[in-house]
């Protein structure tokens, strides 16, 4: 027995020494000058050209810039490009800032832009190539001017370049791993990378030579906490200064607690129902006696209007989302390019809905199954349940099929659903319309998410024209007109725009962004 304690003592001693060494680790920042943010999803890699997913892009915007930026209201504003203009219908000129340097001190020049666009084009498995595929020639006029040619007139060149992060041309050949361990993560952004701990956190130091507005905090720690409750608890417990994606269940509690403050704005994400309008009757639509129907009722505009009028959007937002959304009339959020302000939210009117159904010849109603994911959007499956009850009230007896998003997406792509819930975020109305409602044409990327199988030659022509219209004002009018056409035809049923929500320690302020990004450099006190 005695011999035991003799072996334990030196071990204990070593342990104490190790503790002291541990305390001296310079990697641990002092709490006071570090802004600690709880992020809802983890960045999978720091290579800014690899995966086009929001968590990666969010961290990307801390380390890198693009030629054009998007402000908190989704308006396109100058970034590394001071200005841009159209030279000829198929040629654009971008004037670059000449006062920008990379984190390693080297100057930012046209060569870096060209190298970045090339890397986006060539990177195996890179997911940003669709943003550069229309640029057939990119060349430097001088060190701070580049010209870009497209095959046909294309209005979205400046917006597409918002998705191309600019890296130093010295790292154009670097594999993704070099970005993750830091040697190639050299950008012009407001923060320099200190350390990337995959799945745990990203540590950042302020870029003291940033060309734009300097970050308020010398250091930032972006912690990845995907669990909603864990994120809220970390804020409540004082481990974090700020969290993003505040769950609806915590909103009331945080609002009534003087130690915290909320920042919110309408998000760019719109929730809506796709309605399968193929001639072939969807398997999930039946007569009330269970037999197959001869005609797909969703091809009748009056039925689509009836379903839209059956939904009580205010009740859904109030009861299921704790007020953290607003009713939608468009496919894009208010303020986004192409939002048509003249469209009204479909009025909740069950009596009118019944009349419309009767006019269309469905006085007896029919049976329907509504599909929704159950782990993608706030309250998604419960929203579908509520809508099913509302449809049933006007005589369309509705059931719900809800499933995890990984199962849901595949089945929706195969066209298995009659009515399917989808959320969509876009910076421009014509982009949203092209993906969601343009006639399906896989080779051109049109209608890739058109689960409604909606087809309108007029709408297709309007979208095409808008893409080629280089005058911003005329283009805005065209996009609004296209949006108007699709919505008055009730091609889909818009539900609501979610609110983007942040919670901060009292005294801090955040410029809430419609695109839902959390930027440490936009937090002030």
């Amino acid at each position: 027995m005695v011999c035991h304690s003799m072996t334990i003592r030196p071990v204990l001693g070593l342990f104490m020494v190790a503790l002291m060494l541990g305390a001296a680790d310079p990697g641990v920042a002092l709490a006071g000058d570090t802004l600690r943010i709880g992020m809802a999803a983890e960045a999978t890699t720091l290579d800014p050209h690899a995966l086009n997913i929001a968590p990666n892009n969010a961290i990307g915007w801390h380390l890198f810039d693009a030629l054009t930026h998007v402000d908190e209201r989704t308006r396109l504003v100058p970034g590394l490009a001071r200005s841009w203009h159209v030279v000829s219908p198929t040629e654009w000129e971008f004037r670059l800032r000449d006062d920008v340097q990379f984190h390693d001190g080297s100057a930012f020049e046209a060569a870096d832009v060209i190298a970045s666009i090339e890397r986006v084009r060539r990177l195996p498995n890179g997911q940003f190539s669709s943003f550069v595929q229309r640029l057939i020639d990119v060349r430097a006029v001088d060190r701070h001017t580049i010209r870009i040619r497209t095959a046909t007139p294309y209005a979205l060149v400046p917006l597409d370049l918002n998705s191309v992060f600019i890296i130093s041309h010295r790292h154009a050949e670097a594999p993704s791993a070099n970005f993750d361990q830091g040697s190639a993560a050299v950008g012009t952004g407001p923060w320099r990378l200190t350390r990337f701990e995959r799945g745990e956190r990203v540590l950042l130091d302020r870029n003291e030579h940033y060309w734009g507005e300097q970050a308020h905090w010398p250091r930032a720690e972006m912690r990845m906490i995907s669990g909603e409750q864990a994120r809220v608890a970390a804020l409540l417990g004082g481990d974090l200064d700020m969290i993003e994606a505040v769950p609806g269940s915590a909103v009331v509690r945080l609002r009534n607690d003087a130690r915290f403050t909320l920042a919110q704005t309408v998000s760019w994400r719109t929730l809506f129902f796709h309605l399968d309008q193929r001639a072939q009757v969807p398997a999930l639509i039946r007569r009330t006696d269970g037999s197959r129907m001869a005609v797909n009722p969703l091809t009748d505009r009056r039925v689509r209007l009836a379903l839209a009028a059956a939904i009580d959007r205010e009740a859904i937002i109030d009861k299921l989302l704790d007020g953290t959304a607003r009713p939608a009339s468009n496919l894009v959020a208010p303020g986004v390019f192409g939002h048509d302000d003249s469209l009204a939210v479909p009025r909740f009117d069950p009596a009118a809905a019944r009349r419309l159904l009767a006019d269309a010849g469905y006085r007896a109603g029919f049976n329907l199954t509504v599909a929704a994911p159950n782990n993608r959007y706030p309250a998604d499956a419960r929203i579908a349940q509520a809508v099913a009850a509302m449809f049933s009230r006007i005589g369309v007896r509705t059931e719900v099929a809800s499933m995890p998003i990984n199962v849901y997406l595949g089945r929706a792509r195969r066209g298995e659903f009659a009515v399917a819930l989808l959320g969509w975020g876009s910076f421009s109305g014509d982009l949203a319309l092209r993906s969601l409602l343009a006639t399906r044409d896989p080779s051109r990327g049109n209608g890739t998410w058109n689960w409604s199988y909606y087809h309108s030659a007029d709408l297709d022509a309007m979208i095409e024209r808008a893409f080629a219209e280089l005058d911003p004002d005329r283009r805005a009018a065209q996009v609004r007109a296209a949006m108007h056409l699709a919505m008055t035809d009730q091609a889909v049923i818009p539900l609501h725009h979610q609110n983007a929500l942040w919670a901060l320690r009292a005294g801090l302020r955040y410029r809430a962004r419609t695109d839902e990004f959390t930027f440490a450099h936009h937090v002030t006190d």
């Binding site: 541990g22 641990v28 195996p124 995907s226 994120r231 782990n375 990984n406 998410w449």
Partner: protein, 324 residues
């Protein structure tokens, strides 16, 4: 012993082969990883290119055979989502999970065995009944709820301990670990307690029952007649006799701690393997799921081997049987 180990190895290889086939078929049935991976704006051509680059355009059988071939070369494939080797991702997270499981096991064994023995010795006392009742309660309370309670009390109300996350900035014997600094330990404490609670309850009940049985045997009576002191009686005579069966249970339960710490990890935002597995399943990141299974099966095999060796050391009867 050697042939035993070889048989074990063969067994786990078979398990691995079966599991990987099940995972391949399962992920295929759930959905297409491309649906989760491809950005919404991509055209059909880009989708096809990505599918080809990842080998997802081949038939399921071909994909599986290719996987086996690469696995034999020691390559388990790259994660679809982070574009880095799947095994590397798992091994990066392994230390966090082991730390958590080890701490939980230490708490459960360090408290559970003495309490269990104590309860058996003082079986008639009121305190014993309270402790055993609490242990039954420990079985019935769900882990995530205990975790949330601990967070509400110690992190939100009292603000004594952090609510989650891991701090491995300290070093112990040159390894970056939570055991290396007070901050690291403070992050570890709540999740470890939360994870340990169920096992603690289990060990108290098991030790109690086993000890009761041993205490009724003649050699205990003889030892007491010889005047053996109580600490030695319980700490040596009893403990050695319940040791073999306890080690078996502890070994198995440790494996379970490693493999199923998922709930605790997500409640406390602990960056371990469990969280990685859940994310991988949700995003259909098949290579990561397969690599996770490989690591877990290997771990279980190793634990079983160690448990058998410990049993040999503890029980001379087994050693004699092994020699013959």
């Amino acid at each position: 012993m050697l042939s035993e180990a070889a048989a074990r190895l063969l067994q786990s290889l078979l398990v691995l082969l079966t599991m990987s086939a099940v995972v391949f078929a399962g992920v295929y049935l759930i959905g297409n990883p491309l649906d989760m991976l491809i950005p919404p704006q991509a055209s059909e051509l880009e989708r096809a290119q990505a599918g080809h680059a990842l080998g997802l355009d081949q038939s399921l059988i071909t994909q599986y055979l290719l996987f086996l071939q690469h696995a034999l070369e020691g390559n388990l494939g790259r994660s679809f989502f982070s574009n880095s080797p799947a095994l590397g991702l798992i091994l990066d997270r392994l230390p966090a999970t082991i730390e958590l499981a080890l701490s939980a096991a230490l708490i459960a064994v360090g408290l559970g065995v003495p309490i269990g023995i104590g309860c058996a010795w003082y079986a008639q006392r009121f305190g014993t009944r309270v402790l055993l009742g609490l242990a039954t309660l420990g079985f019935s309370v769900p882990t995530f709820w205990v975790g949330l309670l601990l967070i509400m009390l110690f992190s939100v109300q009292l603000q004594w301990l952090p609510s989650g996350g891991r701090d491995a900035s300290g070093h112990l014997f040159g390894i970056a670990t939570s055991f290396g600094s007070w901050r690291g330990l403070s992050h570890l404490l709540l999740p470890a307690i939360s994870l340990a609670l169920f096992k603690l309850a289990l060990l108290i009940r098991l030790t109690y029952a086993a000890t009761r049985e041993v205490l009724q045997q003649d050699f205990i009576l003889a030892a007491r007649a010889r005047g053996v002191a109580l600490p030695r009686l319980l700490g040596v005579h009893v403990l050695r006799n319940i040791g073999v069966s306890l080690t078996q249970v502890i070994g198995l339960e440790f494996g379970a701690l490693v493999a199923f710490s998922i709930v605790t990890e997500s409640v406390f935002a602990w960056p371990g393997m469990g969280k990685l597995l859940i994310d991988a399943i949700n995003s259909l990141d098949r290579p990561v799921v397969v690599a996770y299974l490989l690591v877990t099966v290997t771990l279980f095999t190793a634990i079983n081997l160690v448990v058998d060796l410990i049993a040999l050391v503890l029980d001379p009867r087994l050693r004699r049987a092994g020699l013959q």
